[in-house]
């Protein structure tokens, strides 16, 4: 099964440690334990997967800090990257 790492317990996204195809399950490892969700699309290793649903303008949290905000609505299992994130500090 594809694997992902949630770095900080506050994070709402995890980083894929292996490639995953759309519809396939992902095992998400955290300090607190292991959970599972399905990827909604293909996501490459190293890229982020949403762990919860996010409305437009809600913060994306990684390393326990805000790294950007949702530009479009994001569903659990979505790929999070340039196409659906804006960075308040810059834009």
């Amino acid at each position: 099964m594809a694997k992902a790492l949630k770095i900080n317990t506050r994070d709402n996204c995890a980083v894929l440690l292996t490639d995953v195809k759309g519809g396939e399950p992902v095992e998400v490892r955290t300090d607190a334990g292991v959970s599972r969700l399905d990827a909604r699309c293909a996501i490459a290793s190293g890229h982020k997967i949403a762990l919860v649903g996010l409305a437009v303008d809600q913060p994306i949290i990684k390393y326990g800090e805000e790294i950007g905000r949702a530009q479009t609505a994001i569903e659990p299992g979505d790929w999070i990257h340039l196409h659906n994130v804006y960075c308040r500090r810059g834009h």
């Binding site: 790492l5 770095i7 980083v15 894929l16 440690l17 490892r29 490459a44 290793s45 190293g46 890229h47 982020k48 994306i60 990684k62 390393y63 800090e65 805000e66 790294i67 950007g68 999070i80 990257h81 340039l82 994130v85 960075c87 500090r89 810059g90 834009h91």
Partner: protein, 386 residues
């Protein structure tokens, strides 16, 4: 107890290598400097394109960079080569280096007569110095005598997940032991300035951190009239994005992991050495060559360089240890990379991998060659300009 074997100096921290540096004060002296070093085992020429026709801060940075380089503990001694009419005079460089108590000799091409005479004199001076250096033995030093440079380049998502956290663990151990660690790449910190300011040991340091990062951001934005490029998102490279890094803040936070979790004791200017132990921010840009040269010119005896995509580069006379958090990159670029932190990606703890990296760092400090040294990589010497 963590110790390493180094070369005692009359002042300051010990050297990890014992080379003779041949430093031109101006680019006009490059060929003479290079030919001197070619004739002498253990001598390294530091050729560069600056030293004249410069004014203001640009000239000052060149002078500070070359002085900081010459004072570096990894060099037993220095031969300064000048032309004679240059703006940065060889004797100014000599005086600064001599204040460390190490052997320094200066020759000026226009005073010697010509290239051939200058090379002849330089070879004589450098070979005498190299002979003396070869008689010196290593001695044992505690971790508090180490000044570690921190750098990353060719970042991918594993850098912020594995390599930088492992290096951060090492940084915390060095600083706790009373040693020094310096991070820089101020261009890469843009976006995380408030987080870093909160780690300053006092309000003055916090203010310096904010001012240092703010100044570089303003300078970068002012350097172009292209609105798209003024944007700080332009700091992310296509390689970073392919690897999964989305925003400047995310990239900054991942990079900052290598500076550990401890307080920041101060900001050091380009070419300046920290006055005491602790974690310091060096005011220098993030380009690999300029940043590593800045770390060296602030006295870091070795640099630990994390990479995701893999990079082979090195600095002459100063070990640059390459670590990656990407096991695929580690296997593919075996002979360029010194340490694999990728086990964190497979479930090992940061502390386990960090302990292995500290051991590697101390072995290289004691004389084991880093891969970049082994393969003769010397691309990273690059004096910063404005």
């Amino acid at each position: 107890m963590n110790t390493f074997q180094g070369y005692r100096r009359s002042q300051g921290l010990p050297g990890l290598r014992n080379s003779v540096a041949v430093i031109p004060s101006v680019f006009c002296a490059n060929t003479v400097a290079r030919r001197i070093a070619e004739h002498v085992t253990g001598a390294i020429a530091f050729c560069h394109p600056v030293g004249c026709s410069q004014v203001g801060l640009d000239l000052e940075l060149t002078a500070r960079g070359l002085k900081g380089l010459g004072r570096h503990p990894n060099f037993f001694g220095v031969v300064v080569v000048g032309l004679g009419c240059e703006r940065l005079q060889a004797h100014e460089l000599e005086e600064s280096i001599a204040s460390t108590g190490k052997p320094v000799e200066t020759l000026v091409i226009q005073e010697e007569g010509d290239t051939l005479r200058a090379i002849e004199k330089g070879v004589t001076l450098a070979s005498r110095m190299a002979e003396k250096a070869s008689r010196q033995s290593r001695e044992e030093f505690p971790l508090s005598e180490l000044s570690l440079g921190l750098k990353c380049g060719g970042t991918d998502a594993t850098s912020g997940l594995a390599a930088n956290p492992a290096l951060g663990w090492v940084t915390d151990r060095v600083v706790e032991a009373g040693g020094r660690a310096i991070f820089t790449e101020v261009t890469e910190l843009i976006g995380a300035e408030q987080l870093l300011a909160g780690r300053g040991t006092n309000p003055q340091v916090a203010g310096e951190i904010l001012a240092t990062i703010g100044a570089i951001e303003n300078r970068l934005a002012a350097a172009t009239s292209n609105a798209e490029l003024q944007h700080r998102s332009a700091l992310i490279s296509p390689g970073n994005q392919d690897g999964g890094v989305t925003t400047v803040v995310e990239k900054a936070l991942g990079g900052i992991y290598k500076a550990g979790t401890g307080p920041i004791s101060g900001v050091v200017g380009y070419g300046q050495y920290p006055e005491g132990p602790g974690l310091y921010l060096l005011d220098c840009v993030g380009q690999d060559g300029e940043a590593v040269t800045g770390l060296v010119a602030s006295g870091c005896q070795e640099v630990v360089f994390t990479t995701g995509r893999g990079t082979p580069t090195g600095f002459p006379g100063v070990p640059v240890i390459k670590i990656t958090g990407n096991s695929v990159t580690f296997d593919r670029m075996k002979f360029n990379l010194d340490f694999n932190a990728g086990r964190i990606m497979e479930g090992a703890t940061i502390a386990e991998v960090g302990a292995g990296l500290l051991e590697k760092t101390l072995r290289v400090a004691s004389g084991e060659l880093a891969r970049a040294e082994l393969l003769g990589h010397d691309e990273l010497f690059c004096i910063t300009r404005i």
